[in-house]
Each structure stands twice: as structure tokens, then as C-alpha cells.
């Protein structure tokens, strides 16, 4: 090792050594100085940079801000109804969980014209989250603040209009395709708040925004950013609506997660944004701390592009990876915010996965699917379910799985049927599984744990 590097390492070792979080799997193999790492007992370790949630934003079919959304969940309100964004009459089904009101009055008409529906929803949720966090982003170092979102359909609804007109030989406005790429919302959010740090859009289908939260956590923990706006925004589109219908995966009525008579999912749309912040920084500035993001698991099923592993071993492995990353055991888990799509395959496979990972603990804790109320919001589902999980920890109230009437022998856990309930919850996990076997499980804990 060059002398200069030795000197830097020696300097690093004399710094005030932080206490590393027990249970984390640290990279003992990193031999050189790196400002993101420190030394302890002769081993190089990640500095303790814990990540907390200091702001939440939500735009959903049952509420266009966090208080409305949370009240709707606790009341068991169903946001699934007739599709109005396009003519759904030629499709097998005609229902979805649409957002009826986007609180985007802070945007000018000219700005709105340039944006997709997903952009406007994402910005509205981000504005709520940033306001709640108390951050004045204009006074922060912009290069230390990032945006990491999950993306999917983005401006697809507009692109479909362009494509339809083009295919039918009609004049089509090119501006309709400007927001086609999933990363448009990430750039929009960074532009709106003037932030210049790490920027990334994860596109792993239905686990996109769960993975985005995980990446945001890792970016802060590893020192690449101090604050990251994370989550996702995804909207209804003909492609996804037609696609799931073509796979015969959509329930004509509101979806019924874990019910024996479940017939498939209800597609939804939502934006969920969370402000992730390095804990000591958040404490110093007296920020509201809703929860701690302890860690996440990200794995490949390597099984099938659309079908989950029915044994539950793949999903169980992701849950175990998330717990290991967070320094937890199965016994620590108090609540599971389920992926719970209401397809026959997912719900039984997910039940098996939870039992595989949590063992006997699986039967002692509540497991619920808020998709029964807001539908499957695809690339935004991990984010909006993350928001719900944080609120569950804050208020010690578990949202229900509604439309649950018939017990299924293959789904034999406590799904919190039809009514919310109080519970003591210190640690909660939220599952997201996706096309391609892209699985992600995130772990939140009470801030004072």
C-alpha cells in the first residue's frame, strides 16, 4: 500500500469511532481509505449512518394527502371504481383505483402542460413530504440531496395517445411522448426542488419503489447523500390495464386479497414519497422523525418471468435477507404489510414465504394488504405501502384487508379482516414482489426503538 494511503488510514483510525449497528454484514474486505468507511478493532467498517424518515407524501384513490389517505385506510375505504381515464368498455374488466384529485395547484398551467399525470402526482406527494420534513431545500447543500424513485408507466398514457393517432394516420403531437421514460419524474422532482445529488430511477416492475427506498437507504448509509427523496409515482395506462387483463389476472370487482374466492388484482395508481435523512443530521435540526428505515432485502427468484415460486422459498429468502441486513430475527417482526395482490398464485406463495421466513412468529402477528383499498399501484406500490407502514408504526394502528370473507386453507395467517386494529408494533416489514422475480422487502422500525 502506498505510504500516502497508509497515512490516511492511520488518520482515519484515530477519528471518533462510531458504534456500528449490531448484526449488519459489514464489508471487511475493503482495504483502502474511503471517506465512507472507518476502522474498528482493526477492521474497516461502514460508519454508522442510520437512516430515518422525516417526511411523507401520498396521492391515492382514497385520499390526496397523507391524513386523508391514512384516515381512508383505517376506515377501510375502498377506492376501486369505474375507469374514467380511458374507455375501458373493450376490456374484460372496467374497474380500477383511480386518483380523482391531484393537489398540484402550486404548479403553473404551463408547467402542468409539460408534465405527465405521473409527474404531477409525484410532485404533489414530494411537495407534501418536503413540507412535512421541515427542510428548506433552498438553504441546503444541493449536492448532498438526492432523488431515487421507482418508475414504470410514467408518461405512457400520453404516449399511447400519440401512438394511437400515429397508427391511425392522424396528426400526433410529439410533445405527447416527451415524458415517456420512467426517469422523467425523478428529473422533475430534482428540478422542482433544485437538488443536485445522487439521482436514480429503479425499474423493477412492481418492486421498483421498494427497491428505490432500499437504494436510497444504502446511498445515505454509504455516505453518497445526506437526504434522499424516495418512493415512486405510477399511473393507470392502457398497456398495464390491457396486459393484466390479457393474463386474466384482474378481478372484475374490487380485489379480495387472501380470500378463498379471490380472482385477481385491481389495478391502481398512486404516488408515495418519503424523505430519508441521515439520523444524526435529522436529530440536530429537530426534524420530525416518523420511523427508522433499518434495511432491505433485494433478490432474484430466478424462477419465472410472471409466476411466483409457489413454495415460498424465494420470497422467504428475501424476507430473511431484509432481516439480516437490519440485524433482526424473525421474532422481532411485529407486522407484515403484504404484497397481497389477490391473485391466486401470489397470495398463497406469499403466505408460504412469510411462514418460511418467520416460522412460528408468522401466526402471531398481523399481516394485511392495503391493495384491497387502493389497488395494485404497480411501480408505486412499494412506496405507498411504505408510507402506510410508517404510519402504522407511528400510530400503532394496523390497516385492514377489506373484502375478506372466506378463509382459504392456503392462506392461513391473520390478515386483519375488514377492520383496522390497535397493536404494539416496533418493527414492520413491507413485501414487494414483481415480474421477473424481482423481490424486495423493506424494514421499518419505531424511531425510538
Amino acid at each position: 500500500m502506498p505510504e500516502g494511503r497508509k497515512a490516511i488510514n492511520a488518520k482515519q483510525q484515530t477519528e471518533d469511532l462510531p458504534v456500528c449497528r449490531p448484526g449488519l454484514r459489514f464489508p471487511f474486505h475493503l482495504p483502502f481509505y474511503d471517506s465512507r468507511f472507518t476502522w474498528q478493532n482493526g477492521r474497516q467498517m461502514i460508519k454508522q449512518r442510520r437512516v430515518v424518515v422525516t417526511g411523507l407524501g401520498a396521492v391515492t384513490s382514497i385520499g390526496s394527502n397523507v391524513p386523508e389517505f391514512w384516515a381512508g385506510l383505517l376506515a377501510g375505504r375502498c377506492g376501486i371504481g369505474p375507469v374514467s381515464l380511458f374507455d375501458a368498455s373493450p376490456y374484460r374488466t372496467q374497474t380500477a383505483a383511480e386518483v380523482r384529485d391531484i393537489p398540484d395547484a402550486f404548479l403553473t398551467p404551463a408547467q402542468k402542460r409539460r408534465m405527465s399525470r405521473a409527474d404531477r402526482m409525484g410532485l404533489a406527494a414530494a411537495a407534501e413530504a418536503v413540507e412535512q420534513s421541515g427542510l428548506d431545500l433552498s438553504r441546503e447543500n444541493p449536492s448532498r440531496i438526492g432523488v431515487v424513485l421507482g418508475g414504470g408507466t410514467s408518461g405512457l398514457l400520453d404516449s399511447e395517445d400519440f401512438f394511437f393517432r400515429y397508427l391511425h394516420g392522424q396528426a400526433a403531437r410529439p410533445s405527447r411522448v416527451l415524458n415517456h421514460m420512467p426517469d422523467a419524474i425523478t428529473d422533475r422532482v430534482a428540478q422542482h426542488f433544485g437538488v443536485e445529488g445522487i439521482k436514480s430511477t429503479i425499474t423493477t416492475a412492481c418492486s421498483s419503489s421498494a427497491n428505490a427506498m432500499g437504494y436510497a437507504h444504502d446511498a445515505i448509509a454509504a455516505g453518497w447523500a445526506d437526504v434522499v427523496l424516495t418512493g415512486g409515482s405510477d399511473v393507470l395506462a392502457r398497456l398495464t390495464y390491457g396486459g393484466f387483463n390479457s393474463l386474466r389476472s384482474v378481478d372484475p370487482g374490487p380485489c379480495r386479497p387472501f380470500d378463498r374466492e379471490r380472482k385477481g388484482l385491481s389495478i391502481g395508481e398512486a404516488a408515495g414519497i418519503l424523505v430519508f435523512e441521515e439520523r444524526e443530521r435529522a436529530r440536530r435540526r429537530g426534524a420530525p422523525i416518523f420511523a427508522e428505515f433499518l434495511g432491505y432485502g433485494v433478490t432474484s427468484d430466478a424462477f419465472h418471468m410472471t409466476a411466483p415460486d409457489p413454495s415460498g422459498s424465494a420470497g422467504g429468502r428475501t424476507i430473511q435477507a431484509a432481516l439480516a441486513c437490519s440485524g433482526l430475527d424473525a421474532a422481532d417482526v411485529d407486522y407484515v404489510n403484504a404484497h397481497g395482490t389477490a391473485t391466486p398464485q401470489n397470495d398463497s406463495a406469499e403466505t408460504a414465504a412469510i411462514k418460511t421466513a418467520l416460522g412460528s412468529r408468522a401466526r402471531e402477528i398481523p399481516v394485511s394488504s392495503i391493495k384491497s383499498m387502493i389497488g395494485h399501484c404497480l411501480c408505486a406500490s412499494g412506496a405507498i405501502e411504505g408510507v402506510a407502514t410508517v404510519l402504522t408504526l407511528r400510530d400503532q394502528l394496523v390497516p385492514p384487508t377489506i373484502h375478506y370473507e372466506n378463509a382459504d386453507p392456503a392462506c392461513d395467517l391473520d390478515y386483519v379482516p375488514n377492520a383496522s386494529r390497535e397493536a404494539e408494533i416496533d418493527v414492520a416489514i413491507s413485501n414487494s414482489f414483481a415480474f421477473g422475480g424481482n423481490s424486495s422487502v423493506v424494514v421499518f422500525a419505531n424511531a425510538n426503538r
Partner: protein, 378 residues
Amino acid sequence: MAFHGFVTGTGAVSPLGRTAPEFARRLFAGETAIRPLTREERDGLQATHVARCDGFTPQPEIPPMKARRFDRGSQFAIIACAQAIAEAGYDVEQAPQQIGIALGTGSAGAGALTEFLRVLLVESPEAAPPFHFPNTVANAPASQVSIELKLLGPNVTITQKDPSALNALLYSSIALSSGRARAMLAGGVDEWNPYYALGFDRVGALRGQNRATGIVQGEGGFAVLLETRENVERRGARPLAVVSGLAMAGAPSEPYRFNPDRRAIERAVRGALEDAALSPGQIDLVLPSRNGVAEMDCAEEDVLADVFAGPPRSVSVKDAIGEMAASGGGQIVAACRAVAFRDGPLASGSRPRRVLIDSFGAGGNFLAAVVESAEAAA
């Protein structure tokens, strides 16, 4: 210096060749795969040129019956990743949970998406072919790689404009350093699609008969196997290169506009050098971001002239294979091969020891990386 991982294998399915060695050899020999669009490809476009993997077939790696299940991007990705694994001599089966994948893309799934939508919009939703739908997701190539190669570790796809592949490299670095995996396939994949070309052309992004500035689209799949030091030592593997510097800078911008923000470019370039603990004079080769967007290219030239007293040798990868979200993957592969083998761009018999990669895109996205030879980094 920072340590973001050893590169032990490279793979490429590119317009300049179907393997990483062929791609690098032809690139550094000064060849370009950019050619005029055929009449069929050009239908309605003002753009005139493209770089495609002409004559590509997925055989012999993927049997014909199996290949039908994969879209073009997935075929590129599977073959490029298999090449990287093979070159690294990596035994996935030994610890499949410890190897993952992160690919950057801008167009993966485009073929399946446009075909599914075409039938849905022109015929009826009921006629839309269900077998296309799973491949409409951008993560299809990375997921098909995971299924084919039985990788059980982290699996993500990143879309963040032109530097998506470098973004995937950064994700992979963090996945290794946080202990999520011991090895990551990192790179990018894109497929050329006529409808996407139409969209890019109509919004003024492509160079052509009416526009002197703009990109020429490319396609291909690129991957490197990035490993922890511990893993390389345990395997007794020979590293080709070290990724020793990475930096990312943003500049507030409309998502679809190129913002030639010199401050952000400089932050990315100097950030990567600082991360690698190198002075500009220690860089032997630059693979610039240059992609034909005049204002971006000028800004990059200005910044490089400021940073480097005497500019080092420069080879433009995008002048050879076109621009795409995956082109950064091509730059990474090219950099690794340049420092590892003697068929690089410098004078005969000498290899560059340290390479700077620039990758900038629309929406205010700027990334830079430093790749060093294993000996230089020792």
C-alpha cells in the same frame, strides 16, 4: 483511493462485434459501426444514421426454440453476461445468492411494448398477445439473465437517461460494499426500436438531414463482472481492472433537455478523480461522453481542457456504437479491456494504466468513473 470492485470479466454484444475482445479491438482500431438507415428503418424519420447489431442471432448461445421467448434486449443481455461470467471463470452455482445483476437501460422492453400496444390500439384489447406483456417491463433483460444464469442475488434495472449503465455500476459498487453481494454483473442493454426512433426523432433528439446536432442511436448489451477483493482472492482470479473512482452530479433540468452545465460536468469529473485519489496527470486515456449533441460536447471539451493541462488521449465510444442508455456499459467494457490487454489505443506495446469515463445525459444527469489496471491500483 476508493475501491468499487475488481472487474474480472467482460461481455459485449455490440454493433462493433459480438464479443468484448472484438468490440474493443475494432473500437481502438478506429472503426465505427454507424451506418445510414435502411429505407425500411428510415420510414418517416429525418434521422439518417444508426448503429445496430446487424446480423445478430442469439445462436449458438441460446437455442432457437428458447430464443423465441426472449426479446432482442434480453438476448443481448443474456449473451453479454454469460461472456463476462465465462471470462471471469466464475462458478455461479457455488454461491448463487452472492451474485446479482444491475443493468442500465432506456429502451428494454420496447419491442414487446410497442407490439402489444399496436395490437391493443389497432385491433382490440382482447387481441393483444399475452406472451408479450411480461417482456414489456424494462427489467425483463436483467430478470431473464437471472433466470438463465440462476443468479439469486440483487437484481435491479436502472433507467436514468444516457448514463444509466454507469448508474448501474454505482449501484453495483454499493451492493458490494454493503455486503449484499460478492459479485455483481453491471452494465447496460438497449434495443433499437422503430417507434422509439420515431418518438426521439419527432422531439428533436436525433441528428439527421434537418438537424446537425443530436445523437445517433445505437443498441447492444454490455456487462462486466464486478467482484469484491475478498472474493477475487478466494477464487484466485486474475482481475482485469479496478473501478477506483465514481462520481455523480445533477443539474436541475427538464427531463428531456440537455443541460450543458459546466459546473455539474466538472463536479462529476473532478469527483471521480478525487474518489480515485488521482491527479488529472495520472489519467492516460479518456472515454468522453461525446455523443453529437453540440452544446453538451462543447461543454465537456471545455471542462476537460480546464481539468487536464495537457489533454490525454481520447477515444469516443459513442462515435463508434451510437448513443443509448447502455453506451456507458460499452465505455466500461472498453476501459477494462484497454487497461488489461495490449490491443488498446495507445502506442504499440503500451497500455493505458488509468482511464476516465464520462457519461452525461439529458435531464441533468452526469456521471464519471475511473478504471485502473490491477497493477496500477495495487
